[in-house]
Amino acid sequence: MLVEIRGLSFSRGNRAIFDNVDMDIPRGKVTAIMGPSGTGKTTLLKLIGGQLKPDAGTIRVDGQDVHRLGHNALYAFRRRMMGMLFQSGALLTDLNVYDNVAFPLREHTKLSESVIRHLVLLKLQAVGLRGARYLMPAELSGGMARRVALARAIALDPEMIMYDEPFTGQDPISMGVLVKLIHDMNHALGLTSVVVSHDVRETASISDYVYVISAGKVVEHGSPEKLHHSGSAWVKQFMDGLPDGPVPFHYPANGLIDDLMQSEQGK
């Protein structure tokens, strides 16, 4: 296992985001973490990356408890182990595509500019954007920005890449490109991928293992096939995208007739 999460609890204010969660992320596979919006999927990635500290429990990445590392050790560990693709791409807006991908190489290595150029062009070639290297982030579409961010995330050849909602808001073609890229990168580079998403079909199509989380707990986990045949009505509703089920269509409220009768009072 590359990532082992044990007894993880985390809360924001009075709201518990995770309550005693256990999870294992296998090495060299694509693991999906799915769940409705607002269940703390992004928070989980930030906890794994050491950007947030859990209230209780441990997160071990490659055998190392990330929250026991000091500031410098954590940064060195991230440099060696992790890449992360943010939902927005998180490209540096004052640098063009080329310089964005070159950024981690320039910051962390003493490679000459000619070597950096080769590496950047190869990484951009892998995501199909070598020709867009002089564009500024503002000139890129959302899908292109994520592809550049992916090229940047693999620039230092990390062991693991975490994808935060990579498919959200993408047109079908961009979505297809991203699905293919995540799948191909994982297999070509021998990476471990963690994909956080609620795009069930796309995510399930490339995942080896899926965790479904809701209300601070792991509701179900297993292969995508297993989840599609899950006995849980909640999981079935989520995986099939049904409008009504254990998660009701209506937000809890008084009866409609009662509400309508009260409407004259202006409430």
């Binding site: 950007q51 991230r78 992360m84 943010f86 939902q87 998180a90 490209l91 950024f103 910051e107």
Partner: protein
């Protein structure tokens, strides 16, 4: 009702103290990483351009007008006493001791301080700062420290330029418009303005103002809520708190420097 108000007052007070605590912690962290940035002068020079050079126009124009107005007002008062040859002294002392540092501070907070807050806040809300952390690049070193240092260097330099231009503005009005003899203008300045007492005290003020404004500006950007509303509030706070800090500190520094 009373209890609600008390609770809200208590919560507000706690929030203020928590902010001050976070601000102090942030400052210590910034000062701690500052030496590392001296090895990366390119980052600081780039920010000096954005923070310092781009504020130059407003400083020069404002300085010119403030100097001209000061000369005109001084003439109106001094001419009744036949002391119009002291215009340069009046202009130079008020500019060097008070108006130069204070005006520069206020203009810097409005022009560069708000821009710093907005830029850092936007980097936060677009996850650029988080992205850097995950690339193992410390945003405190890469983003905050160069901006802090550039602002800190810029303010005294801009103040010195403001002072020079304002005196030049005074000269234009006194000599070119009001036909005062220019030898009198400059000799009064030379004879009565003390380098340490007047000029250096003004520069010390500008160093203090620069430190505080830049601290407020970068902290507000770093600490803002990553929403458009949060960003707007943070930018406003930079200008309001920065300006009030300049005026409050000016009183304290004046009391220390010139009361003896």
């Amino acid at each position: 009702m009373m209890r609600d108000k008390l609770q809200s007052l208590g919560r507000h007070t706690l929030d203020i103290f928590a902010r001050i605590g976070r601000g102090a912690e942030f400052l210590i962290h910034t000062l701690y990483v500052l030496p590392a940035i001296l090895l990366r002068p390119a980052l600081v020079i780039r920010q000096l351009y954005y923070v310092g050079v781009q504020t130059l126009v407003i400083i020069v124009v404002a300085g010119l007008f403030v100097g001209m107005v000061m000369a005109l007002q001084s003439y109106i008062v001094l001419v009744d006493f036949g002391a119009e040859e002291s215009i340069s002294l009046m202009v130079a002392l008020s500019i060097m001791r008070e108006l130069g540092p204070v005006f520069t501070g206020l203009l810097f907070a409005g022009r560069a301080g708000s821009a710093l807050t907005a830029e850092i806040g936007l980097m936060k809300s677009t996850e650029q700062l988080s992205g850097m952390e995950m690339m193992a690049v410390d945003p405190m070193k890469y983003v905050i420290a160069p901006r802090f240092l550039a602002g800190f260097i810029s303010v005294p330099l801009l103040t010195a330029i403001f002072m020079s231009v304002a005196i030049l503005g005074g000269y234009l009005v006194a000599v070119e418009l009001l036909q005062l003899y220019d030898g009198v203008f400059w000799s009064q300045l030379q004879a009565k303005v003390d380098f340490y007492e007047d000029f250096m005290n003004g520069m010390i003020k500008s160093v203090v103002f620069g430190f505080v404004i830049v601290w407020i500006a970068v902290f507000e950007g770093f600490d803002c809520l990553p929403t458009s509303e949060g960003l707007g509030q943070a930018t406003t706070r930079t200008v309001v708190h920065g300006s009030l800090a300049v005026l409050g500190l000016d009183f304290i520094l004046t009391a220390i420097m010139f009361s003896a």
